[in-house]
């Protein structure tokens, strides 16, 4: 599976889905005009990747803002991950948020409630 790398724009996050290394990353802000168009291809690739193999997977999500459509899209990305974890694949989702950013931290806690098989870690990033 090819690696997906999309540079960040002002309205969409940096995407680095390195399937071979089992490492996925979203970083930046996410409020594209059409979230379905942006996240649709990512979701399809992720599903295709999850269909075979059981290598461990880590998904880093480091968003400083996302709109409700993006939240929905994130949920859609998380669901197959949780299903894969249920089937035995080690899956870790690391929710990175800036120190003191309660909004993003709360959103992470909300997402965390959806996971029972995949590991969901809240990781506070201190300003460098």
């Amino acid at each position: 599976m090819d690696r997906i790398q999309i540079p960040a724009t002002s309205r969409s996050p940096l995407v680095d889905f390195d399937f071979a290394a089992g490492h996925l990353l979203l970083r930046g802000e996410s409020y594209p005009e059409d979230a379905a168009a942006f996240y649709g291809p990512l979701l399809r690739s992720l599903r295709a990747y999850l269909e075979d193999g059981a290598t461990p997977l880590t998904f880093d999500v480091a968003l400083s803002y996302f709109n409700s459509s993006s939240a929905k899209a994130l949920m859609n990305l998380f669901m197959p991950l949780e299903d894969a974890a249920q089937e035995g694949r080690p899956v870790t989702i690391r929710w990175l948020y800036a120190e003191g950013d309660d909004t993003i931290a709360e959103a992470g806690e909300d997402f965390a409630a959806d996971f029972s098989h995949a590991r969901f870690e809240m990781v506070q990033e201190t300003a460098a």
Binding site: L43, S68, S69, G100, D101
Partner: protein, 565 residues
């Protein structure tokens, strides 16, 4: 002779008269040469840089005429000088020959006289005189004695003009024995010499003429080839450039121009390139301006259309009279990101109850606005047709109606839904908060789906979170059950329902979202202001937090409290 050395000669002689041939300066050279200049422009050519000024000159008459006149003038002068020189040389030559001839004749006479000087020469002179006659130029010889009497004669008497003959005399000295004195007169013809001189003169004349002709032709040809032809091409190119036909001149090859003209041509080519790129830039700029105008027009139409849409959306929202309703004091902040938006609110008095609803639909702009209309219609039916009054029941009913409207009933359906181009199909919905304020029981019933109620009292700010339950979306099976919270009303309470666009304000020194706590702090700071003032202060504080950052979302806030305390 090369053109390089030839061409400048006649030109420099006229003191840069070449410029006079062109239209750039009205030189006096042509007038000097007897040419009357044809005005190239209507005003007599005073404005020589007018468009079209070059075309008259480019016909070529002036250039050719100048060259022609130059050669007509030059040729006789040079021919006369060369000819005179040759004639003088021939004359000197001729005179020399005459002198040499004379000396030779004298020597012949002297030798004959010496040979004759012996006794009895007056009788025996025949062989000597006949020897003289062997000279082809010989005409006559006369032998006289001392008394002057002719003793011998050979040849004819000299006739004709004196310059055609050479006459010399030699004395015969008296000898010892029977040798009387006498004289010999010898006449030689100079006709051969004259004929020779004439022939030489004719040859010199012919040679000079041939030379001059060759010189003139070569000169003219060289000037034509290396000056006039390149100039003519340059002028025709200038004419075409005037008509914005961006041609350059290539003077390389057989028609090699003189260096000055080559320099001018290069400068001309650079100028044309500059003009061409300038012209292209102008065209591009004009095209850009046209495109910009079209875009501005299109944008204007879209904005006009959006403005109209905003009026419609505002008409669906409660008007000012609803805000001044009987039981409720309320203030509203409704600010779509793009003229219209996905935020919706409703305030109404029904059966002694105050209903306050705030909804945040997915997306903003026109798509969000469409959803708000669906929500508004659904809410109207639920409140008035179905008569629901419990907030959690209202939310559940809204959820069902909107999902049905958007045909998003199927759980886990991933294929594109009908009528949607989205790759994941239609999966849209909204967050919503509903407050029912019952003054009779002095209680407030709140139910939220993804939307919280903020309560500001004199001592604290509390936030009652809604349930994690998106409305209208396809069901995920993970929704929390909707439930209502009942709050007893007490004095000093102010309630706020707001969409996440209010707290999701990117900005500040650390460039992060303001968050609920930030908003709560702002509300707490201004809690003693009238509601309108609180909303205005919040809006100002939000703008201050954003700074240069743009807003990310629609934002709506409804502040309300029971009236009449």
């Amino acid at each position: 002779m090369s053109g390089e050395s030839l061409a400048p000669a006649p030109l420099s002689r006229r003191g840069g008269s070449l410029r006079g041939a062109g239209p750039l300066r009205r030189g006096d050279t042509l007038a000097d040469l007897g040419f009357t200049e044809v005005p190239t422009t209507q005003d007599g050519g005073a404005d020589t840089m007018r468009p079209g000024a070059l075309r008259g000159a480019a016909r070529g008459r002036n250039l050719d005429g100048l060259a022609h006149a130059l050669f007509l003038r030059l040729f006789p002068v040079i021919a006369a000088v060369v000819l005179a020189t040759q004639v003088v040389i021939a004359w000197v030559n001729y005179a020399d020959q005459i002198r040499l001839y004379g000396e030779r004749a004298q020597m012949m006479a002297d030798m004959t006289a010496r040979a004759l000087a012996r006794p009895g020469w007056t009788h025996a002179h025949g062989p000597q005189l006949q020897a003289l006659a062997l000279d082809p130029a010989f005409r006559s010889a006369v032998l006289r004695d001392a008394a002057g009497a002719v003793v011998g004669r050979l040849g004819d008497e000299p006739r004709g003009r004196s310059f055609e003959r050479i006459q010399v005399a030699a004395e015969i000295e008296a000898g010892p024995a029977a040798q009387p004195a006498g004289s010999l007169t010898l006449v030689l013809s100079a006709e051969a010499l004259r004929a020779n001189a004439e022939k030489q003169f004719v040859m010199v004349l012919a040679a000079s003429l041939a030379l001059m002709l060759a010189f003139g032709l070569t000169l003219r040809l060289a000037v034509r080839r290396h000056v006039l032809a390149p100039l003519a091409r340059l002028l025709s190119a200038m004419g075409r450039v005037e008509r914005k036909d961006w041609v350059t001149v290539d003077l390389a090859g057989s028609r090699r121009p003189s260096r000055e003209i080559a320099d001018i041509s290069q400068a001309f080519n650079r100028m044309v390139e500059g003009l061409r790129s300038g012209d292209e830039a102008r065209h591009l700029l004009a095209e850009l301006e046209r495109t910009h105008a079209r875009l501005a027009e299109a944008n204007g139409l879209v904005m006009e259309s959006l403005g109209y849409a905003r009026r419609i959306q505002q008409a669906v929202l409660p008007g000012p009279q609803a805000l001044r309703g009987a039981g409720l004091e309320a203030a509203v902040l409704w600010e779509p990101l793009h003229v219209v938006g996905g935020d919706y609110f409703w305030i109404e008095e029904i059966d002694g109850l105050s209903v306050v609803v705030v909804a945040d639909c997915t997306g903003h702009g026109v798509p969000g606005a469409f959803l708000t209309l669906i929500v508004a219609t659904a809410l109207d039916r639920i409140l008035h047709d179905q008569g629901l009054r419990r907030p959690d029941a209202i939310l559940a009913a809204l959820d069902g109606v909107v999902r049905a409207r958007l045909r998003q009933e199927t759980k886990g359906q991933d294929g594109p839904g009908p009528g949607t181009g989205g790759s994941a199909g239609s999966d849209d919905g909204f967050d919503c908060g509903v407050c029912i304020l019952d003054r009779a029981t002095r209680s407030l019933h709140f139910a939220g789906a993804g939307l919280a109620l903020t309560v500001v009292t004199e001592t604290e700010v509390t936030r009652i979170k809604g349930r994690r339950h998106g409305l209208g979306y396809r069901r995920t099976g993970r929704e929390e059950a909707l439930a209502a919270t009942i709050l007893p009303l007490s004095d000093g309470q102010t309630f706020f329902l707001m969409t996440d666009g209010v707290s999701d304000q990117m900005g500040g020194a650390s460039r992060r979202l303001l968050g609920h706590k930030g908003v709560a702090a702002i509300l707490d700071r201004h809690r003693d202001l009238p509601l309108d003032g609180q909303v205005a202060a919040l809006e100002a504080a939000l703008a201050a937090h954003r700074g240069p950052e743009p807003r990310r979302d629609d934002m709506t806030l409804v502040a309300f409290r029971p009236r009449g305390r």
